[in-house]
């Protein structure tokens, strides 16, 4: 690890100020991603700002929904009674990720800002546009089995690895941030970005902005939802493809649908046309297949990840079926029903 100076912030304002006065400052919360990357010299902060003592660890009722402090751990969030009852999609997505130990340490803000697991990004002996802009992207034409099939660019084909964020995208959460220019709200869909020609930027946060809370709207799709995560082993592995689905049904018809995919793009992937297609249609396999076909029509696989296209298509159909039937994927019994 490189040498850095250390600041223990007591308030959000102190944290923001400490960021502004340093070269290569980083906030640190659970440390489960940042410390890992520092050990590989992928991150070499000049200053670490410890934000774990900020008063941002509460989950509060807010505007009919919930306001989740940025320091609420992934475990505390998943096991909160209100989340279990009203936002079980979020609970299941969190519990499908990482391990119990990591979820005990990982924070809500850190989960949003975790970086890609692209092998080249992690290996400082190789070029990588995300780590060192302008050096190239060896994943294109290289080892890209885990990479994106949607929304990638010539500069970067990395994916965002979070499970929790896929559920937050489907639920249309809002991210509240505070920075040198004050506070602002960012719709979840606008928080993460596609790589374009600047893959070094994962999100639309400005330098020095800190995530203060993630706000959930009233509707949680708690009756008809699923989080279906497909991966190389059944636990403690990142998603190759995951599906967060939430439906509101009107009899046997779909009233509204939310569908987000993980493991396939630089951000949780939503397709509004597919969601619109589902609206008002009978909740049948034929309808779900049509939506899935629409989503994967846009897919642009790489040399080694063509399998993800068919995997995504089938996962969407199965996920929507599980949601419609009210039989969400079990997070302990991993058999897919």
């Amino acid at each position: 690890m490189n040498r850095f100076d250390y600041v223990r912030a007591g308030t959000v304002a102190e944290a923001v100020q400490a960021y502004g006065t340093a070269d290569r400052a980083r906030f640190i919360a659970g440390g489960t991603n940042l410390v890992d990357l520092m050990k590989y010299d992928v991150e070499r902060p000049g200053r670490l700002i410890d934000i774990t003592r900020l008063p941002l660890d509460a989950i509060e009722d807010h505007a009919g929904g919930l306001r989740i402090g940025a320091l609420v751990t992934n475990a505390a969030l998943a096991y909160d009674a209100r989340v279990g009852e009203r936002y079980s999609l979020l609970r299941d997505a969190i519990l499908a990720g990482a391990s119990a130990q990591l979820r005990n340490a990982a924070s809500t803000g850190g989960n949003l800002l975790q970086r890609t697991r692209c092998y080249y990004f992690y290996d400082t002996a190789t070029p990588c546009n995300k780590r060192e802009p302008g050096t190239g992207c060896p994943a294109i034409g290289g080892l890209n089995r885990i990479h994106a099939i949607f929304g990638a660019s010539e500069a970067c084909i990395a994916t965002h690895p979070s499970d929790m964020c896929v559920a937050l995208a489907a639920l249309e959460a809002t991210v509240r941030v505070s920075g040198p220019a004050g506070e602002r709200m960012i719709a979840f869909a606008d928080f993460h970005r596609l790589p374009g020609s600047t893959p070094e930027k994962d999100t639309n946060l400005e330098p020095g902005e800190i995530v203060v809370s993630v706000d959930l709207p009233e509707t949680g799709y708690a009756r008809n939802y699923t989080y279906l995560k497909l991966r190389d082993r059944l636990s403690y592995a990142f998603a190759l493809v995951s599906v967060a689905a939430g439906l509101e049904l009107d009899g046997d018809r779909v009233k509204t649908a939310r569908l987000a995919l993980g493991g396939v793009a630089h951000k949780p992937w939503r397709n509004r046309e597919a969601e619109a297609l589902l609206q008002g249609k009978p909740a049948t396999r034929e309808t779900f297949q049509a939506a899935a076909d629409l989503v994967v029509a846009e897919a642009k696989p790489q040399s080694e990840n063509g399998f993800k296209v068919e995997l995504a298509r089938r996962a969407i159909v199965r996920g929507l079926e599980q949601a419609a039937a009210g039989t969400p994927q079990s997070i302990t019994d991993k058999r897919i029903q």
Partner: protein, 175 residues
């Protein structure tokens, strides 16, 4: 030096922190880049906690921080100033009174009883993780134990007996 305010501590300075480790209060000077795992093993001679991967991928370094199981390899010690740390060396003491005449925590006794290890390298992490899992109180069934313990890899494949040992203690608690 001790940290009082939000003013930065220069990169070459050591920082004074206080940790209660296995019941003993320790005042320690650490560089900010020292992980809790390295502090325990290299500075405090508590080598029961193991380093497997050093990247959060194996669970060998699992310890309890304020009763919660975490990976010591991904924690900077300086950030845990004021915390209570329990390592495998302290599990017997944690059982306060619940420890058997041999000084073992019930989960340790169950691991012995069920032969829940082969080489033993993952065992300290498995033990601390089991105690953390019991504290959390979410796992009941075998499937739930397996999922809740999936953050602890065992290259010897002692999983079946590990689950047996935990199930035994869990059922004992329920009785």
């Amino acid at each position: 030096m001790r940290l009082e305010s939000a003013s930065p501590v220069a990169a070459d300075a050591k920082i004074g922190i206080r940790l209660t480790i296995n019941g003993e209060v320790r005042d320690i000077q650490v560089a900010p880049w020292t992980t809790l795992l390295d502090l325990l093993r290299e500075r405090l001679d508590l080598t029961g906690t193991k380093k497997g991967c050093d990247h959060g991928q194996c669970g060998a370094c699992t310890v309890l921080v304020d009763g919660t199981r975490v990976n010591a390899c991904l924690i900077l010690a300086v950030m845990k100033d004021g915390a209570e740390i329990t390592t495998v060396e302290g599990l017997g003491g944690l059982a306060n009174g619940g420890a058997g005449s041999n000084g073992l925590h019930p989960i340790q006794a169950a691991f012995v009883e069920h032969d829940a290890f082969q080489c033993g390298y993952c065992t300290p992490g498995q033990l601390c993780s089991s105690v953390g899992m019991l504290n959390e109180g979410h796992a009941r069934t075998r499937d739930e134990i397996r999922e809740a313990m999936s953050g602890n890899l065992c290259r010897c494949g002692a999983y079946t007996n590990i689950v047996d040992a935990i199930e035994d203690v869990l059922q004992g608690e329920a009785r």
